[in-house]
Symmetry: C2
Subunit: 211 residues, 2 copies
Amino acid sequence: MDDDALLIDRQPLPAGVPDRLAAQLRFLAEADKLKTILRASPLAAADRRENDAEHSWHLALMVVLLAEYAEEPIDVGHTIRLVVVHDLVEIYAGDSPVFVPGAADDQQEREIAAAERLFGLLPPDQAASMRALWDEFEAGVTPEARFGKAMDRLEPMLLNWLNGGGTWGMPGASEATVRAREAGVVAASTTLGAVTSLLVDEGLRRGWIRP
Amino acid sequence: MDDDALLIDRQPLPAGVPDRLAAQLRFLAEADKLKTILRASPLAAADRRENDAEHSWHLALMVVLLAEYAEEPIDVGHTIRLVVVHDLVEIYAGDSPVFVPGAADDQQEREIAAAERLFGLLPPDQAASMRALWDEFEAGVTPEARFGKAMDRLEPMLLNWLNGGGTWGMPGASEATVRAREAGVVAASTTLGAVTSLLVDEGLRRGWIRP
C-alpha cells in the first residue's frame, strides 16, 4: 500500500455525497488504518500484539468503569472522547514504544506533522475540534486528560500482569522506567495509583521487572 | 484456553487490592477477549477480518464526528458509552453474522446468558448500569440507541464499499437483506440514510450486491 494514498482513493465515494459528509467519510475510512498500528503490548486473550484501535476501545471501557476513582471530578463523556482520539496520529507517525530507547526522540515532531495531515482531511471546524482533543490529551493538564493518560498507563500494566511480564521484560525496561509509568496513574488517582504500585512491587518480587 | 476460565485466573491479582476494584479489574481483564471475537467484515486497511473491539472503537469515533446528522438531538457522551459496551456480550455469545442464515436463531437467548455471566463479574451497581446500557442499545428505542445502531449498520457498509463488496458478496446477502441494514441508518438520520442508499444503489449497479 502506498503510504501516501488515502484508503478512500481505492474506491472513491459515488457522486451525490454532500461535500462536508464526503470529507467526514474520507477521514473515517482513513481511520481504519489505526487497526493496523501495533503496540509493543501483548494481548492477554491471544498470542499477538495489541493494535491501537482495540487499545483505544479498552481505555474507553476503563473510563466508564473506573471514573469513580478520579482524584478530581471528571466529565466522563469528554474523557472517553479524549481516549478514543488520543492515538489517531499514530496512523501516520507510528507507535513509539516506551521501553525502546530513542523511539520517542522525534516523536513529538512526527506526531504534529501527522495531526496536521490526518485532521486536515476533516471539515475545518472538526479538524480544529479533533486537534483540540488531541492537544488536550497530550498536555495532560485538565482532570479529564490526566485521567485518560492514567488509563493509557494502567491498561498495558494490566496486560503485562496477565502475561507474567509482557513489555516489562523488554531490554529498555527497568524498575525506573516502569515506575515512571506508574507515576502517571498515581497523579490521577490515589486508589488506582496504589494498586498500580502493588502490581509493580509484585512484578519486581517475581523477577518480571529488572531492578 | 478453557472457555470457562477467566483471564484473571491465569495471574490472580496480588493481595491488598480492595474488593470492589478487584472485581472491576477482573472484568476489565476479561474484556480483553473482545479483541479476539472476529466479525464477518473485512478491514479496509489490511487483509483480515475485523474484531469486535476495534469495530466498537470505530463506532465511537463515528459518533463523535457524525452526531450532527442525528434526526433527533442526542447526548453524544451517552451514545459513545452505548457503542463501547454494545458488543461485550459476544465475548461469550460470539458474533452472529447477519448474512449467514440461521446464525441469529438463538442469538438473543445466548446473548442474555452471556450478559448475566459477564456483567455479573462487576460490583452489583455496575453490573446493573452496564446491563442497562446494553439493554438500551438492543431495544433501539432512545434517540441515542437508534443513532448508535445506525453507526453499527453504516460502518460495515463503509468497509464493504472500500473492499469492493466485502460481506455483500456472502451467499446469504442480497439486495433485500442489505436494504434491511440500510433501513437502520435511514431510521436515525435522513442525510446518512440517503448516502447509505447511494452506496447500496451503486453496489447493486456494480454487481457487488446480488439483486
